[in-house]
Symmetry: C2
Amino acid sequence: MKDISKELGISITTISFIVNKKAENKISKEVIKKVEDYIEKVGYKPNSSAQSLRTGKSKSIVFMVEDISDPFFSAIAKQMEEIAFRNGYNIIYCSTENDRERTLELISLFKDRQVDAFIITPPENFEKDLKNLIYEEHQTVMVFDRYFKNFKHNYVILENFEGAQKAVTGFYESGRRNIAFIGIHSELSPLVERHEGYLNSIGAYNLAAYELFLKFNEVKTPAGMSAIRNFLKGNPGIDSILFATNNLAITGLRVMREKKIKIPEDLAIISFDERDVFELYSPPISVIAQPISELAKELINGTLEILASKKEKKYFFTKALPGELIVRESLRPVKKLSSNP
Amino acid sequence: MKDISKELGISITTISFIVNKKAENKISKEVIKKVEDYIEKVGYKPNSSAQSLRTGKSKSIVFMVEDISDPFFSAIAKQMEEIAFRNGYNIIYCSTENDRERTLELISLFKDRQVDAFIITPPENFEKDLKNLIYEEHQTVMVFDRYFKNFKHNYVILENFEGAQKAVTGFYESGRRNIAFIGIHSELSPLVERHEGYLNSIGAYNLAAYELFLKFNEVKTPAGMSAIRNFLKGNPGIDSILFATNNLAITGLRVMREKKIKIPEDLAIISFDERDVFELYSPPISVIAQPISELAKELINGTLEILASKKEKKYFFTKALPGELIVRESLRPVKKLSSNP
DNA sequence: GCTGTTTAGTAAAACGTTTTACTAAACCGT
DNA sequence: ACGGTTTAGTAAAACGTTTTACTAAACAGC
């Protein structure tokens, strides 16, 4: 294309300067005008492979999540895409399936493709790989939804501890005193912190803890359902359940429907993470909702910021955003409460 | 990297042949072995920008849908990603927002990025742009979810007409005789054909038609709800509703919940497109489900096939897959049926 | 009118591949 | 032992940019 542009009798260098807006102090107004008009006329667009080859930058960012068809992740993805696009970046999504090998393969693929940054929700057992990626391979990486204490990195997460506290407080204020927690056996920070937040609040109110942990891969399965079934049978006294993830809650709801357990009379329910089915369910289910737009904005703006200031890089971008307890029918008080002025 | 490889004392050309598996008939076993071992040792991977620059191919495919956070599209995306990855391609997703301008911008961006193919659900009023993209710009394009009669193109779609027929038959066999259709005012082929299928079956059974069409952008809004409210009020005789899309059905369900309409006693419901909320709803909602896996497979395999056989290109890849009526509680018969041996 | 500096612009190398056209050596048949 | 063919390999151009280092012309100061 530059060759064609050279039909103007102007050097390729000059064209390049003009295209890249580096021309202000070097090139005369008239030449700039002439070139810009011509570019406009023929609709020239630089070849991005060549740019990428030359500069080593591809103007693309990869967003790796556990499962891109999860509504939470796809909602984030969509909002980031919008902002990235306006900044001349595009976003490539992919699913790790929470599998370490696969994640490594994907990272290797995208490194070869010269992506400028990784926004990633690392799978289980990925701590050393992640550290390596950041500190040995010197990639720009933004960690999403979880973080690691053992080394510094950029991240954007939810205030999971506080979120769980809000849920327990919600139960407590609606009159529940036997509050259960159903979680997942995992070392991932959100799962750990949601549990810790629960324990902390339970302790503060001086209540007994009731806990069930499923295995990660049995959440959506019959095995998960029967674990919950047994848990309910073994703990008939509980009057409320906090589910640590939305998939967990959905499995729980299946069990309750099957057992004809009444919500909120028999059991009050709060789930982490909003999902359209919760609002539409009968009764509507209360949730600790993540601030999707804000998360998406922080993620992409933070990443772009890091990319822009790549010289210094002495600081880390870290952000924890609060979740919001959305009270719905599933949390309606059923006992009389002590009057509240 | 090739320079480094040249430390073996072997020409860059030879390395390239070996890397690209073009070496079989040209280069001696020993040299191949030596080079492959060295590559393995140092972990060499070709720079894809350079490859892309040289060959004009990027090994990436863009998947443009109305809204990537729609569970239907994101499920398709996820399955395609898997297959594409195994074939050395990666997929870039983006959302058109059903907006023509935005779609054109995105297409322009991705053309510059040298994507090898577009898999696209074109927005409203995109017919000429699409035709142009295929016939003037000679891009490889696979159209998804809709098609155009006026020119030949590759597509993968659902059998929408037959799907609507199955729904009407389902209602009929469950004893309903006043079957309504709630659709969207649109020229997009699925919406048109679902409606035509409905009319066709209604006609075959000699029943009256009850129809409501919302505007595309009011589906998820209060305006949509009140349109449905009025429709129900104006047509008290109807005993069943076929919703042309899942979002439409969700809006409808909100109205019914608010009006305390009993499903399936007062109104039987079938919606197009599966969605987790339908199965979990009380009562569970019957649907015409799209065969997600098959659609994803046909889409990506079809696209890869076209890409592989780019020389000929004399044929078009066209596929219409049947939907399946999944019968749930919302379709339970309530009247006595004439006995059925 | 000479030197030094700014202005406006350009030549050419480099990024890392692929691919065409070439060659030197070995082999083959007579 | 000669020309012809195969074998095993290579040199160099090309893909379309960016960027460094350069220059010719104009100008300024004295």
